[in-house]
């Protein structure tokens, strides 16, 4: 399919280089591909925004640095996907990030959930990282060259995020009675939002058929193979929480996204048209 320019995958890809290559290209994504990229970008953006809240608040300095690193990587992925998505709509990454309202955000609800305590953040980040690792590995083989290139770079980074989270799940699960209790509670809170990550929707399915998107349900086995055994090996119990209704990809959100966006967008919206 379509957008195969071989040089994309081989060079170090940044949001700026993507914008540059798209500016001189007539080979822009169609609306379906752009909408898919938008959902992926929103996932990473909203997660990065939450991770940013930890900076200067982490349990130790090393963790300030580590959570900052993960957040920065996520923000980089978001910027790449949004830049690509925006090229189909004539919009920049910032126009998409700062001037869309809540129902136009297509992220899964997991990512917008509040940080809670450190254990809850680790529970969320662990679930997210398992999902990203499987997703980006699959997407790196996409027939869409740009999605493949962005995913190939991101796949290496989320591997490290997952490793970091797995270490913390073990430390907190097997550490003290209090850390075990908190880790268990963090899992209970976030577990309900995991299922949504693996649900298919019609627009994604039609891109799966073209070899462009990765089927969400195909990622479930990797999650099931890794996460419940990790939980049990960490002295914790796999939660039995029922799942939520979801709907993030259709613009339906929990009560947490509105305030997050209000904070993120406030300055940009106070100066429409300004550049920074």
């Amino acid at each position: 399919m379509s957008h195969s320019t071989n040089h994309i995958a081989s060079t170090a890809i940044t949001p700026e280089s993507i914008a540059q290559s798209l500016a001189s290209s007539s080979d822009l994504p169609d609306v379906a591909v752009a909408t898919y990229a938008l959902g992926l970008g929103d996932d990473a953006l909203v997660l990065a925004q939450r991770l940013g809240e930890w900076i200067a608040r982490a349990p130790e300095l090393e963790e300030d640095v580590a959570l900052g690193n993960i957040g920065l990587d996520q923000l980089g992925h978001a910027r790449s996907f949004l830049t690509y998505a925006g090229s189909a709509f004539g919009k920049t990454e910032d126009e998409l990030a700062y001037f869309r309202d809540e129902p136009e955000f297509l992220n899964h609800q997991l990512f917008e959930q509040p940080n809670g305590d450190f254990a809850q953040t680790i529970a969320k980040q662990m679930i997210a990282s398992v999902y990203f690792v499987a997703l980006y590995r699959g997407l790196a083989a996409s027939n869409d060259a740009m999605l493949a290139a962005i995913a190939a770079k991101a796949a290496k980074e989320v591997d490290y995020h997952l490793d970091h989270c797995v270490q913390w799940v073990k430390r907190l699960g097997l550490g003290t009675a209090e850390s075990n209790r908190r880790m268990q509670r963090g899992l209970e809170v976030m577990w309900a939002f995991a299922d949504e990550l693996f649900r298919s929707d019609a627009p994604t399915d039609s891109l799966v058929a073209l070899g462009i998107a990765v089927s969400p349900s195909s990622l479930r086995p990797a999650f099931d193979a890794l996460v419940p055994p990790l939980i049990v090996a960490s002295g914790l119990t796999v939660p039995v929480t029922t799942f939520t209704r979801g709907g993030g990809r259709a613009g339906l959100h929990s009560e947490s996204l509105g305030p997050l966006l209000a904070e993120m967008q406030v300055l940009a919206r106070a100066h429409p048209g300004a550049s920074w």
């Binding site: 949001p15 200067a56 300030d64 949004l82 940009a268």
Partner: protein, 334 residues
């Protein structure tokens, strides 16, 4: 055999050996200073030198850590994703600087828990500049341009400080600080090229940060009693006033490029001196902030304490887990 006499003789011999070692150590220490060489952790050093360095390096580390706060205030609201990424990376750099400096201080025999405890109980000092607040986005520009800029003027000479671990930490830190200064300058430049509201935001912010940044070099030389000894030990290389002058000379042309006015009516080129003259600073304000009565002193310390206390259970869990792992490894070996 009279063991008491033996012990006394031994003790005397030990004391004499120690004295000889001290004398040799002191000779070597003085030679190192005279030849502009580095003193390393295992070298003999005077107690005053060690104490001065512990105080200076730990205060410097604390400043990096507390300095994360005024900027992390704008991570969530940064007005573009690129600026958000740059700001996150910057605040993260500052955490890294704190870590390098604490490690350098540790080589002098003070542990991180002790230093952290002094910080969160309000016993330790840190740079007063971070007790000012950041009400506007332009403050991210002013902090980078003026505060990191002043820090660079202070810190470049510290790359040649006599104590090895401190000097090497400063080499790494200075590289990153010059990025920070350039990024701050770019934020202000973008604002000054923007809308009227953006220009106003930039100028208002520079008005607030200019004088506090000049005060970062410390009191005028005649009121700075400890400087002389620090200079003799090759810890301090230039006087407070010399560094301040160097900073002002660097700022003026940059302010012209930006198109901001530095809020000092007395600022003008002095042909004879080959430097810019500048007005007197309000040192009563400096001493107010130093005495704990700045805009955010209690907020900064209590925020750091809160993070530390909220994280206690996490650190405890990590320790317990590491101990259990070590235990089971020993079990396997045995």
């Amino acid at each position: 055999m009279n063991t008491t006499t033996d012990v006394t003789t031994d003790a005397r011999a030990d004391a004499r050996a120690a004295q000889i070692a001290d004398e040799a150590g002191e000779r070597r220490f003085n030679e190192l200073l005279a030849s502009e060489s580095r003193v390393e952790p295992s070298d003999w050093m005077p107690e005053g030198y060690r104490k001065t360095l512990i105080r200076q390096i730990s205060q410097h580390g604390h400043s990096e850590i507390i300095g994360m706060q005024p900027e992390s205030n704008w991570i969530a609201r940064a007005p573009s994703l690129k600026r958000k990424a740059i700001l996150m990376a910057k605040v993260q750099d500052e955490a890294g600087h704190g870590l390098y400096l604490y490690s350098a201080a540790q080589t002098l025999g003070v542990d991180r828990e002790t230093m952290f405890d002094q910080l969160i109980t309000g016993k330790a000092k840190y740079s007063s500049i971070f007790n000012y607040t950041t009400p506007t986005w332009a403050d991210m520009g002013s902090i980078g341009w003026l505060v990191d800029g002043a820090a660079i003027c202070n810190q470049v000479p510290l790359c040649r400080v006599s104590y090895g671990p401190y000097g090497r930490a400063m080499v790494r830190i200075c590289k990153e600080e010059s990025f920070h200064q350039r990024q701050g300058f770019e934020i202000l430049l973008e604002l000054m090229r923007g809308t009227d509201a953006q220009k106003e935001m930039a100028q208002e912010s520079v008005n607030r940060w200019y004088a506090p940044a000049l005060m970062m070099f410390g009191p005028p030389d005649e009121d700075s009693p400890n400087s002389k000894q620090s200079m003799a030990w090759n810890i301090k290389r230039f006087s407070n006033d010399d560094l301040r002058q160097r900073f002002v000379d660097m700022l003026v042309p940059q302010a012209e490029i930006l198109g901001v006015t530095l809020p000092d009516a007395a600022l003008r080129w002095n042909e004879e001196r080959g430097h810019y003259d500048f007005g007197d600073l309000d040192w009563s304000e400096f001493h107010e902030v130093l005495a704990g009565r700045g805009p955010a002193n209690t907020i900064r310390v209590s925020r750091r304490r809160e993070a530390h206390e909220n994280g206690a259970w996490v650190r405890e869990a990590a320790r317990a887990y590491a101990d259990a792992q070590a235990e089971s490894r020993r079990g396997l070996v045995a």
